[in-house]
Symmetry: D2
Amino acid sequence: MSHEKFQNCIEACQACAVACEHCADACLSEPNLQMLAECIRLDRDCARICQTAVSFMAANSPFAAPVCELCAQICEACAAECEKHAHHHDHCRQCAQACRQCAQACRSLMSV
Amino acid sequence: MSHEKFQNCIEACQACAVACEHCADACLSEPNLQMLAECIRLDRDCARICQTAVSFMAANSPFAAPVCELCAQICEACAAECEKHAHHHDHCRQCAQACRQCAQACRSLMSV
Amino acid sequence: MSHEKFQNCIEACQACAVACEHCADACLSEPNLQMLAECIRLDRDCARICQTAVSFMAANSPFAAPVCELCAQICEACAAECEKHAHHHDHCRQCAQACRQCAQACRSLMSV
Amino acid sequence: MSHEKFQNCIEACQACAVACEHCADACLSEPNLQMLAECIRLDRDCARICQTAVSFMAANSPFAAPVCELCAQICEACAAECEKHAHHHDHCRQCAQACRQCAQACRSLMSV
C-alpha cells in the first residue's frame, strides 16, 4: 500500500490525536474532573496509538494495517466514553467525533 | 497560548513528520543509499521532534514553546541535508520544503 | 558521544518515563483528583520528553544534548509539583525521586 | 493487571527499543548499507512499537495486552531480519537477541 493510499487515514489519525490531547487537557480544568478520569485515560491511549499509526503509515510500514486495526478499536472505546460527556463538554463532543471518523478511516483502510 | 493559536504550527509539524518518515523510507530504496545515510538520520530526528511538538501543542503544555524552538533547529538541519539531494530525489525536495515551512511556523510561534 | 556514554542517562530517562506514566494513572484514581490536575499535566509532559530523549540518545543523534537539556528542565518542574503531594501519595513521592535523578543524569551528560 | 506485573515486559521492551535504535543507526555507517535497508526499516518499526508498549504498560492501560501482542509480532520479524546479519554485525546480533527476549516477554504476559 503506498504512502498516498494512506493519506485519508493519516489525516484522520492526526486530527484524532490532537482532539484527544486537547480533550484530556481540557478535562483536567473541568469542575467535574472526578467524573472524567476514564475519559482522560482513554484520550491518553487514543492519542498515543493514533500517533503510532501515523508513523507506521507515513513510513509505509508492512505493519501499518495491524496498527490501524488496533487504532480503530481504541478510537471506538474512546468515542464511547467521550459521548457520555458530549452534552456537557464541547471538547468531549469534538473528540468523540474525531475518534469515530478515525475508526472509520482505519477500518476503510483494512477493507481495501 | 491557546490550542487554536497553535493550529498553524501543529499542521506544519504534522506535515513535516509525515514528509520525514516518507523521505527516510524512500531513501532506503534508492540505489545511491550510501550517500543518503545522513539524510535518513536527520529525517528520523526531525520526524520524532515534530511528533513531540504536536503533542505538546495539542495538550497546551507550558513547555510547547521550548519544544518548538528545538524543533525549528532540527527542521533546519534536516532541510539543509535534504536540499543537497533535492535535484535527484523528489522525496528529498518535498521533505526539505516541509522542514522549512515547519521551522518557520515554529519560529513565528516564538515571536508572538 | 557514543551510545555507551549515554547508558546512565538512558536508564534514568526510562525509569522517569515509567514513573510519570504510572503516577498520572494513579492520580486519576485518587479521591483528591482535583488537586492533582497539574501533577497529571506535568507527568504527561515529562513522560513524553523522557521517551523522546531515550530515542535520541539510543540513536546517537547529534541533537541528543539539547533534547536532554530540555528534558532536565521538564523533569525539574515535574519533580517540584510531585513533591507537593509526596506526603500523601507514594506514586508522587516515587515520581519526584525519578524526576530528580533523571534531571541530574541529563545535566551530568551536558557537563561532560 | 498491575503496574508491577508488567515490570519484566517493560524492561524487555525498553531494552529492545534501545537496541533497535542503536542497530539502525549503526547500520547507516556500514559499508554494506545497501543490504541492510530492510533491517533499518524493521528496527524503526520495532523501536516504535516497543516504546508504545512501554507507555501502555506503565500507564496500566486496558489496551496493554493487544499492544504487546502486536509488539511480539514486530519483534519476531525484526529478530528474523537481524539474524541474517548477525555474523557480520555485532549490533544486529545484539538487536536480534533483544527482540527475541522482548517477543517472549510479551507472549508470557498474554499467557498469564
